[in-house]
């Protein structure tokens, strides 16, 4: 397994995340609606809005994870996904050296497929991802990418709205 790397602008990224005052807040319908839509649209058992704190990924909204609201950052797929601007797709985690022996693959929730769209705020910081997860390998075509990208856009709009309301 390759632990999730740290972006070069980590301190500023964390500052931008904290300034949203969103970590550890209760669930909100405006985010849950998007995540539930994503799970249904892609017919996946798990969909998340994951925000990357110093040492954990915390789920602002989650479908399919029960009471789990965070995992450690080093084993997170989303920690890898925020390193790039575009969507990160892992068609089969068992075939990917970064994730094949990851505890989230070898054990619950037994991730095989992952697609994560970085939540890039207008200031350029990737705070986390909107991601979908399956327990079986999958393909993900250009239309799927476009739909996930649209849903990511809707999440970012909500995050930005919250930021503007807090100012």
């Amino acid at each position: 397994m390759i632990p999730a790397p740290m972006p070069p602008n980590e301190a500023e990224r964390i500052a931008a995340l904290y300034s949203l005052l969103i970590l550890d807040t209760p669930p909100e319908q405006r985010f849950d609606t998007i995540v539930e839509f994503a799970a249904s649209e892609f017919d996946v058992p798990i969909a998340l809005i994951s925000l990357l704190d110093h040492e954990r990924q915390w789920f602002k909204s989650a479908v399919g994870l029960g009471d789990v609201c965070e995992t450690s950052r080093d084993i997170s797929f989303c920690g890898h996904a925020i390193m790039r601007g575009d969507i990160m797709v892992v068609p089969d985690a068992l075939e990917d050296l970064r994730f094949a022996d990851n505890p989230l693959v070898a054990g619950p929730p037994h991730i095989r497929f992952y697609a994560g769209a970085p939540l890039l705020l207008p200031n350029g910081y990737a705070l986390g991802t909107l991601c979908i997860i399956d327990t079986r390998p999958r393909d993900f075509d250009a239309t799927d990418m476009a739909i996930l990208s649209t849903l990511r856009q809707l999440v970012v709009q909500q995050l930005a709205n919250g930021e503007a309301a807090g100012e």
Partner: protein, 126 residues
Amino acid sequence: MLLMEPEDMLRRTVSLTARSLGMAEIHEAASPSLARQLLREQRFHGLVLAIDCGGIHDFSLLDQVRQGKTASSPAIPIAVLAERCDAGLIAALRERDVNRIILKPFRARVLLDTFAVLSAAANERA
């Protein structure tokens, strides 16, 4: 193209994704009254309309289009979104020359495919 669908997430997702994929521009209407206004003011090359209205099917927009009472050609391709379907509905839609019926629930992807088909049909007619 015009999409009349009350559910916000579905409507927004379809129109924004169509735009990002470089498909035909999709105008959105969240209600029949807004769709009626848009149909009066603008010319469309295809329509996708939700027809369920309080447990009954509302064909008034379809009829307006087919009767030439909008800015669009009466012959434009039309797809209909419905909660359920029976022989009566099929007959009513055939009578109105509807190209396709899509039963709910469906994925945004299905609507995107539908718009692609309607665009092709509109281009053939042009």
